[in-house]
Amino acid sequence: MSWIARLRGMLRRERLDQDLDEELRSHLEMRTADNLAAGMSPEEARYEAQKRFGNTTLLKEDTRAADILGWLDECSRDFRHALRMLQRSPGFTAVAVLTLALGIGANTALFSVINAVLLHPLPYHDPDSLAMVWESNSQHSNPHNTVSPPNFLDWQSRNTVFSSMAFIFDERDNLTGNGDPQEVVVQDVSTNFFSLLGVDPLIGPGFTPENGQPGHANVVILSYGLWKERFAGDPAIVGKSILLNGRHQTVVGVAPQNFQWFIKDGSLTGAKPQMWSPFVFPQSFHDHKQIGRFMTVVARLRPGATHSEAQTQMNAIASRLEQEYPDFDGHWGVNVVPLRQQISGDVRPALLVLFGAVAFVLLIACANVSSLLLARAASREREMAIRTAIGASRWRIARQLLMESLLLALIGGGIGVALAVWGTNALLAASPRNLLDLRAVSMDLRVLAFAVGATLLAGLLFGFLPSYLSAHSRISQTLKEGGRGSSSANRRALARNAFVVAQLGLALVLLTGAGLLTRSFVRLIGVDPGFDTGHLLTFKVALPGSKYGTDQLCLAFFRQLLARISTVPGVRFVSMESFPPLTGLGAATGVRLLSQPARPLSDLPVADVGVVGPDYFTTMSIPLHAGRLFSTQELAEEKHVTIINQAFADKYLHGVNPLGQKAAIYMKSFAENEIHPSEIIGVVGDVHHIGLDTAPEPTVYWPHPELVMSGMTILVRTSNDPSAMVSAARNELQQIDPELPMAAVATMDQLLADSLSRSRFTMLLLGIFAAVAVVLASVGIYGLIAYSVTQRTPELGIRIALGAQRRDVLRLVLGQGTRLTLLAVAVGVPAALAFSRLLATLLFGVSATDPITFAGVAALLALVALLACFIPARRATRVDPIVALRYE
């Protein structure tokens, strides 16, 4: 509405009022004139006419209400009145508004994160028809196992539910030429990857099917970020050649800015891609079935097909493959996961638990404000009674009070949204990268709609009961009783008691959640990782195949690098391994113990494989339990020896001396005749390789020559701050090969902190919410008891005058608080049991029904609640009987 229209509306309303006044006046005058004509005295005539009108105010109100503008006007009157009432009691208003702002603000902040993470559209065409297709093994309990190329080819040719399927696997490659050497994450994909996702390159033609033919695959698509940073956003980049691992690749496109493809499960690098390159299956991949499982597969459903239909058909295909290739596909099935579920999968439970918690905080805030309004309603009972007496209807009074509630909610909501903007940024700043990797969360329309909805709902929620009770009190009684001890006051007291019980109960639920997470976190940091994380620097070096094409070159390079770093002052030990611990990365395969009866390949015990350098166990401080460590000779050339960890010995060699046993480790090949069994020469302590919350896996360690890998993580044990050694280490690296980048530099303590950050963050946030809940609930019970002490002052005065001791008074007042608290615990514990079940996936080493937590939390809440009651109780003992009785 323009301001002119608004002005016209105001003028019209004014005219309406004037019209009505004049109309009624003319009616009165005519009646008076007729009365005079009928022979009444002038005074009598006017009085009679006036009397017939009855309550003029009500008449006017009713008449105005018949008009929409008039109705709006009434509302604005209510609004102004509400504003005056709130201004008159600034203390009450401030407490209520702040409570609501806190509740609404926290809810809006968390919702904006949920909006961005769980509800945001994915940057692909029709993302809801996209699905991840995984292999899953009934024996290894990993539902998201990577896929083997021959199985992918069979799926592709046999299914009819998907319109297309693409594969992805990632690696780190060295980008050289124009500038410093840089390690980039490259996703090798099938040529239909982009077209399947429905994404066109920002510039350039992208991949063509021809790029899937051998000899035509030397093309790449750059990520927007890499294009901007490395190539300064060169608009003529398409068609130019870049050097990747020393080989020329032609740029055929740049991906759009918002394009991203990162599925944590199955990622080999654990990092986001900077480049895409088509991958052509060599002929050996088509021959069943020798090649391991290492690819991620995404597929698009045929129009009309559902995810569950896809799962059904893929199950059938998998069971046929199981029969056709029992050795390779025995126990292997297929798991179809909707893409959206895959992406939000591991953040979802934490976010939903936090959202539930923050909704509880808002409920407690509402109960608090409602309780305050009820207390205020008692003191305003006379005002309401008088208004009723002079003709206000129940609806009118309820509307008036609801208007006050909505006004409170709106002010609270406004401040809440401001708080939310600030809170969202704080939330993002505090959140670990592996929980929320969002640069910015914007306040979009959906978030604003949520805030408005939450505000109005809160207003109605906390305003309804007080308005209802006020509107339904009996005026004659109220006026007679002087607003005290009336039946409506009793009902209000009941309602306030119920609110306090509900608040304490909800606070108990949150406190239980926070308690469980805290105990679980304490358990987690109490876990011994199995090695010494202090003073340990880690970084990755990956050798390009073009320059280090043979095993000998790789071995020689790393030998030289380790030797050089070991001479740096401050370095105590230096070693290396294939995958660093605590990052969730690793490799596993089947192991056959020669002493045990033969089994099909798919039934073999599974073990992690760690490829390590010299002094590895010394550098990491992993203890030797039995046997010996690798000798210098074994670390220099292939001698077919292995060291196992305690978990391997316990699980697969229980009651047998592992030393001297031979194990065929199916890492390099699955062909029996190509495998040379390794002899077990030692047993070392367990390491929590994946993370502290994951049990140590059975592991076999090989010296580097047994399985030469071109990418290794260097481990440097220092005597001082390890981060101070970075430049010295880089210097040594560049001395050997100036083209090699140093990647993923971190201290082991940082890796440990990162692996714990998600648990810490969830615990911290739920802890804050629980603390707010407890404070609000304590204020609630404090307010109730304080109010009841005020109300009972005369009674307490009489009791004291009659000889009641301080202790008796204290017991009387505290008794009320105790009863409410016990009731709250009785209600809260079952609710907390239900809530903690949702938490189960976030817990470590603590049961969701942990009795110690439940008992401790209930005791804590009871203690806080009683402390809150104690303040007014003490005041009650100081009641001066003379002063108290004078009031009556």
């Binding site: 003319s26 005519m30 017939r52 008449l59 209400a65 008009d67 209807s393």
Partner: protein, 110 residues
């Protein structure tokens, strides 16, 4: 306090007002006088109900209102039946007849 609002009474008031206005434009006071007179003092319209009813009818478009001068030279607001109001009157009359017939039946046969 408000009188308990009864649908029958409310509906009846509208019927009476519409019927009165069917004779020609009239102001509020005139409507009360007419109803009182024609009903031989049995029906008295309360001002407290009349004006809200008139304004509601105006809002619903059954009547239109304009300022005019009364018989004895006073400014008064005159209400006039609209076409919509005429239709409504026919409807209300039919309802009323049906109602009285029903009541009569009950009285005769109960």
């Amino acid at each position: 306090m408000l009188q308990p609002k009864n649908d029958l009474l409310q509906g009846t008031l509208a019927l009476l007002v519409l019927k009165t206005l069917a004779r020609g434009p009239q102001h509020g006071y005139g409507v009360t006088l007419h109803i009182q007179m024609v009903s031989k003092d049995i029906l008295r319209v309360e001002e407290g109900s009349l004006y809200p009813a008139l304004h509601r009818m105006e809002q619903d478009g059954w009547v239109s209102a304009e300022w005019g001068i009364s018989e004895n030279n006073r400014r008064a607001r005159y209400y006039r039946l609209t076409a919509k109001g005429r239709k409504q009157l026919a409807e209300e009359e039919k309802n009323w007849e049906r109602l009285t017939q029903a009541v009569a039946h009950v009285l005769h046969f109960a």
